[in-house]
Symmetry: C2
Subunit: 223 residues, 2 copies
DNA sequence: TACCTCTTTTTTGTATACAATATCCCAATG
DNA sequence: CATTGGGATATTGTATACAAAAAAGAGGTA
């Protein structure tokens, strides 16, 4: 049995990341080191180190002497984020499909079922979102591209909070379900190009909807 | 006039990055915080923060309670790094070419001339490498993709030290010269697809040569 | 010699304290 | 009234000090 010792910094990274993804800390909001330190019962050192790591993930912006804020993406940036995902994820899928084992495909199908369950129970958007990421990533693992995979993971966590907002306010899930089934099916049939097209549409479609939402929210906030 | 105040951390990031790129710190070598702090005349706090940032750039690996080491890439990882660059950079070039202004093209040509000068004077590989990055990046800026651009910048700095070794040990520059000229020419003519093909070959060709070198070095080291 | 175990030393992780910078508030001036 | 300057306050940046973990060594046993 392996006991995972975590440094305070690691714990803090996870705590703050969750806060941002959940929307508990909103985009653009400043992250005061002292306040976070107080809340999480650590000194400011691990807080600072955590913020630096989150900056690397793109969830936080750090400005010298001014402090950190949760990154606020413009509509253009959201678009770029999703287009970048589309580019990298289709590439991973293209490489992965020929190598996917039946066991991996079954495993992925299981995640799909869990997503369905989560949706039926109208669980929090957090768990659905988590499963959504796992579904996508489980298809890419076989590509055996650790560096690219890690990048995609980061981009996913960045998209995540926008997806969650989308799930809450619009019915983003209804469309995703059938698309996931179709995608997995094409993977089973090893239809590489078709699968990539579906994946690309899946990502860009979500981007489009989220974009409209972001613009609307920005407009509301601007009043 | 804008005076740029830099925090100690920022200074340290640049110092250590240069050390790694120059080869002063070799791949796999441990980075002792106390030693670096002593050498750079700062406390360990800015050193730690700098190491975290360099980890995000991929130049350093950080393991809890064990410290940081300069990342050592295997042949596979070098291949992936360059293939990822090829994917992202051709995408940026594709988007950039239609938008490139004559002024930008002239600017880029200037860099090309400087590279030629640097080569003639057999300057250090550092300045050539620096110019090489600037040449490539100046073609991508017009794509107007800040996120992707930043990623490419990181990947470039990662490739950099391998390119520098390549420059020193093999004659990597000789081929690059004509390829750069050809690439810029195709950009001027707005021949998007041809330019992308040349760029891809340019990157993957370098990858291939560097790979052979890396394998040879590893084999030598393993004896 | 090989291997375990306890101790010592080195190195990293984090709290605290202080320094440097930015921000806010308010009075004085045009 | 708007604006500028300057001091008080809040916030970040960094040094120092100590705690915790890992690595290196020393001694004993089979």
């Amino acid at each position: 049995m392996v006991i995972e010792y975590k440094t305070r910094t690691q714990v803090v990274v996870e705590a703050i990341r969750e806060k941002i993804l959940k929307g508990e800390i909103k985009a653009g909001e400043p992250l005061r080191q002292a306040a976070l330190a107080d809340e999480l019962k650590v000194s400011r050192i691990p807080i600072r180190e955590a913020l630096l790591q989150l900056e690397a993930e793109g969830l936080v912006e750090f400005e010298a002497h001014k402090g950190a804020t949760a990154t606020k993406l413009s509509a253009e940036q959201v678009t770029e984020l999703f287009e970048l995902r589309a580019l990298l994820e289709t590439e991973l899928l293209r490489l992965a499909i020929p190598k996917l084992t039946d066991a991996e495909l079954d495993q992925t199908e299981l995640i799909l079922q869990q997503m369905n369950d989560a949706y039926q129970q109208s669980a929090t958007s957090g768990t659905w979102s988590e499963l959504n990421s796992r579904f996508h990533l489980s298809l890419y693992r076989a590509a055996n591209r650790p560096l690219t995979f890690e990048m995609v993971q980061n981009l996913n966590s960045n998209s995540d909070r926008y997806i969650r907002v989308h799930l809450m306010l619009a019915g983003g899930v209804t469309k995703a379900g059938p698309e996931h089934v179709q995608l997995l099916d094409l993977c089973r049939q090893r239809k590489v190009e078709q699968a990539c097209v579906v994946l690309k549409q899946h990502i860009l479609g979500a981007a489009h909807e989220i974009n409209q939402l972001v613009q609307k929210l920005d407009a509301d906030a601007g009043q």
